[in-house]
């Protein structure tokens, strides 16, 4: 029954990523049987030995769905993003890095020169007296060796290729992936191109079970080790910076459920181009201080505002990177 229906062709790729997104795909566990019953995985570097040239040989639009995870930060990421775009009907930016730049996107706070110096000269475990840096081409006795070109900027997937959908999260909640996958398999009507799928349309706070007592009146913020969480009051109201008010739901508020503040990996709601801007507004409303000195004192406890508000979203934010 149903075996006359052609199977869906699915590809999964990682750009600048940690591997967590690929693991979240593996996390389908027993649902994997539903997946393989309905889909052929035609390309997935973490799990299958399919070469780039095999993808190059596929006809255009051969792949039904590509889950592209990871940011684009070098010429190899860009090449494969463009290749997969050409071969794919539905291109999904999968996970925070492809969606907004993610953790690798924090590199946009530094220049390429600063990054190279840190990694290849200054880091505690490095000895590099000759200052050897990676080169895109090196000639040795046996011939020419090449490496991808490391870009100055980390990019979101949609800054490089056209993206059909965004499936957010660091990593996305696997249940959400299965729902999206089954929707594609059953031919359910998909939302308009450019939509965020596999996530909610409210802020985390709407779903969060923590008690919200007083609306404002925080005088300072605490890092999570500075004070004990009472386990029941809204984390922001206790002064632990929680990105819940600026973050889309869909993960089940899983960090707060685990007694850790939300860090914003699901990104902002529709129509909000910048999660940090939203969070700055929220913080200004939580504090009550009116005198310049008191305000500055309270803000001193917001450690690394830019890194905190844009932990997952710097390349996709309005200002995109640090000016240099």
């Amino acid at each position: 029954m149903g075996n006359d229906k052609p199977k869906l062709k699915l590809a999964v790729y990682w750009g600048a990523a940690c591997g967590g997104c690929c693991v979240s795909v593996l996390d389908v566990h027993e649902k994997l049987f539903d997946v393989v019953a309905n889909a052929d995985l035609v390309f997935w570097p973490i799990a299958l030995d399919v070469k780039y040239k095999d993808v190059e040989e596929m006809p255009d639009q051969h792949i039904d769905v590509t889950l592209f995870n990871g940011a684009v930060r070098n010429s190899e990421n860009e090449h494969i993003a463009k290749l997969l775009r050409q071969k794919t009907k539905i291109m999904i930016a999968y996970g925070s890095c492809a969606h907004m730049g993610g953790i690798p996107g924090l590199a946009n706070f530094s220049t390429k020169e600063e990054l190279y110096k840190r990694v290849y000269e200054d880091s505690e475990s490095t000895e590099n007296a000759q200052k050897v840096y990676p080169q895109t081409e090196t000639t040795i006795a046996e011939g020419k060796l090449t490496l991808p070109n490391f870009y100055k900027d980390v990019c979101t997937l949609d800054q490089i290729v056209d993206v059909d959908y965004y499936l957010p999260g660091c990593p996305p909640q696997t249940e959400r992936l299965v729902e999206v996958f089954m929707a594609v398999v059953t031919g359910a009507e998909l939302p308009p191109k450019g939509s965020v799928i596999g996530a909610g349309s409210k802020v985390q706070c709407d779903e969060c079970k923590r008690e919200k007592v007083n609306k404002s009146g925080i005088t300072r913020f605490y890092r999570t080790w500075e004070k004990e969480d009472d386990g029941k009051t809204c984390l922001n109201e206790q002064g632990f910076l929680c990105m819940g008010p600026a973050t889309r739901n869909g993960c089940g508020v899983r960090c707060v459920e685990g007694n850790a503040p939300c860090r914003g990996c699901y990104g902002p709601l529709d129509g909000i181009p910048d999660p940090g801007a939203k969070m700055m507004s929220a913080i200004a409303s939580m504090l009550n201080e009116k005198e310049e000195g008191d305000i500055q004192k309270a803000l001193d406890t917001v450690v690394d505002p830019a890194g905190t508000f844009y932990r997952f979203s710097l390349p996709g934010s309005i200002l995109r990177r640090k000016q240099s």
């Binding site: 310049e292 803000l299 830019a306």
Partner: protein
């Protein structure tokens, strides 16, 4: 544009002015023929508390050399506390733009009442001069140009 020289270049300031005070002051300055640098593009808002940090980032991303916020003096906000909220946002934004490598003098907040046309003139002229010293903003270029 590329052919601009520093002589004729004058900085573009996007000014978010509260309807009840600074916006009226800018009218007053106009009526009183107080000359101030023609570089400001005024956007009227109903209260300085309405200015979302996003507006300021968008202004920089779209090419403003500076952003000026004008609101009612402490205690005078028509919606009671909008200006304090604005001040807290502004102080936080200053920290953020500094981390983003933007000269904090590009963003300025002033309380200017409806009667202070003269103060408005001084603030705009002073900010224009400061921005002339700092030079044209490269933010728009950086936002729009992905460097490989």
């Amino acid at each position: 544009m590329t052919n601009m020289n520093t002589e004729q270049w004058s900085p573009k300031i996007v000014a978010f002015f509260c309807n009840w005070c600074t916006y009226t002051a800018s009218d007053l300055a106009g009526v009183s023929r107080l000359r101030y640098a023609p570089s400001t593009r005024v956007i009227r808002v109903m209260c300085s508390g309405r200015i979302d940090p996003e507006f300021i980032m968008e202004a920089f991303a779209k090419g403003a050399d500076g952003v000026l916020i004008g609101g009612c003096h402490p205690g005078d906000c028509h919606y009671s506390e909008g200006n304090y909220k604005c001040l807290r946002r502004y102080d936080l934004l200053q920290r953020y733009i500094e981390q983003m490598g933007i000269d904090t003098r590009r963003l300025r907040l002033e309380w200017i009442s409806a009667a202070e046309g003269k103060k408005l003139q001084e603030v705009v002229n002073e900010m224009t001069n400061t921005l002339k010293e700092i030079g044209p903003s490269k933010i728009k270029h950086v936002v729009e140009t992905i460097e490989k």
